[in-house]
Subunit: 296 residues, 2 copies
């Protein structure tokens, strides 16, 4: 699918809508002065994902894209193959369920027998299978200009998000060159990535020329998901874990972290980088950029 | 178990040891100027937890307290009851496993049948059971002085941690009045909480006079774990989710978030608070406090 180039304001195909009803809730509390205070907090709702007749998992989510979340989750777990024919994705708002139906019914109970609590907000992932899925994986040698990274960070930082409104959630953005395309947020970092994977699957969007940008930590799980999605570049404001770096190096993913203002660190796949920017020309982040971006 | 009062430097019974071997790794990368750079990143290792003969879960952890993690995880999942007699906790460093042995062997496979991905880095939690475990729960009316909260935040912010050293991890601290006692960190927020629960179980430490302080978001899962541990107060630098607030109000937990400098917000259980401090007397955080503390 060809994605048309557009001007900055309308770069986004999907972006957060802080004004959308149902995503945040006003609550009343007491501040440090003992005065009553009203604030906006993000909603969390359970969503139970089914693959045909099989209940797979219940995810806690802000509830904006249940179909994408279900599709992407199953895809990233290896429960939906590229050649699986999806015959339906049925969201029931009352029951808080999504059923993904395929032409060929598969049995994934064995995969569910092994559960992994990973470092980054994941549940029920089949760790062994995930590592296997990486074997023989080759990511494309798509070049990445450092100017794109700086432009993306600036554009993404300026994008209104639920994060800036209500706090307490993680964002991940699918990008192409210097254009952010799909910005997903959720209370769990991996929900945001899965929603992007679900969107790409649904819309038939290619991965090899994309960059994934996240506010969250670059853990092994994040690196694995990105690689399995076929995206060759993963960037974040936040820091790394040793295993995340190791896996990135193993699969040849370009891994860039601690991206703030002029600075960043590339711990894997630097050969994709084209150094076309003098960092001194990049505007430093104002102190109150509004985006803490998780751990450093 | 009586915990002796001590001076500030030695308040901690357990605190992070950034110099401890094996918790971080030096990696080499490239910075934004194209120069080679060396940095410290946290380790992530899988740890497979067994309850007697049953494999329960594999957790990704920094690997500092595998026994506490296993005990606390099982306890917080409701797989270890208060009256269970623990006959052994065996960590095998090579196999990366911990086996918790009890006098009476239990079968928890039914609990494992339901997996919940929650908003906060948990895996394999039995959501339905967790909500059930809260029914009829009563938390003690232990008073909390706001001066303690300010003192704790200041002390904790000054404590050297892996977070400040290497980034990318979450910290949770068990406190008593204005004294931080046990400071646990890990790549997954819930690992840190579970390690504290495991320590309390192992050492026979009471919960009703304690405060739990975390750098992470106050999600439903965090609130549920705190309540199930019997701790009546949960505080964080970070923000809330609506369900976290709701559950806190349901169980009567004192929930304090967005604690930075002079400010905080109490969205539940404010009756425990004793307002003994003029916030104007509290030193504002310096801009570069070094602790981003996650989302706002």
């Amino acid at each position: 699918m060809q994605l048309a180039r557009s001007d900055e304001k309308s770069d986004y195909i999907l972006a957060p809508d802080p004004a959308r009803a149902g995503l945040t809730r006003h609550v009343v509390g007491t501040d440090h002065l003992g005065a009553e205070v009203e604030l906006s907090v993000v909603e969390e709702r359970p969503l139970t994902i089914f693959l045909n007749r099989q209940e797979i998992v219940t995810a806690m989510t802000i509830g904006d894209y249940p179909e994408y979340l279900a599709l992407g989750f199953l895809r990233n777990q290896g429960m939906l193959a590229d050649d699986d024919v999806i015959t339906g994705v049925d969201f029931d708002e009352e029951l808080e369920t999504v059923v993904v139906r395929t032409e060929t019914v598969t049995n994934h109970e064995e995969k569910l027998a092994k559960k992994t609590r990973t470092s980054g907000c994941a549940v029920g992932t089949v760790f062994g299978d995930m590592m296997e899925g990486l074997e023989g994986l080759e990511l494309p040698a798509t070049p990445v200009r450092t100017s794109w990274l700086y432009t993306l960070a600036a554009k993404i930082n300026r994008t209104p998000s639920l994060y800036l409104e209500a706090g307490a959630i993680h964002g991940t953005v699918l990008c192409e060159q210097d254009r952010p395309l799909v910005y997903m947020e959720d209370v769990g970092r991996h929900n945001a990535v899965d929603k992007i994977a679900g969107w790409m699957l649904r819309e038939g969007v290619s991965a090899e020329d994309k960059i994934l940008y996240t506010t969250g930590r670059l853990t092994s799980e994040m690196v694995i998901k990105t690689a399995m999605m076929g995206i060759p570049v993963l960037a974040s404001r936040s820091g790394f874990t040793a295993w995340g770096v190791e896996i990135a190096q193993q699969v040849g993913l370009t891994l860039i972290g601690r991206m703030r203002g002029q600075r960043f660190m590339c711990l894997s796949g630097k050969d994709r980088l084209i150094w076309d920017t003098d960092p001194a020309s990049v505007t430093e982040e104002p102190r109150k950029s509004g985006r803490k971006g998780g751990k450093g």
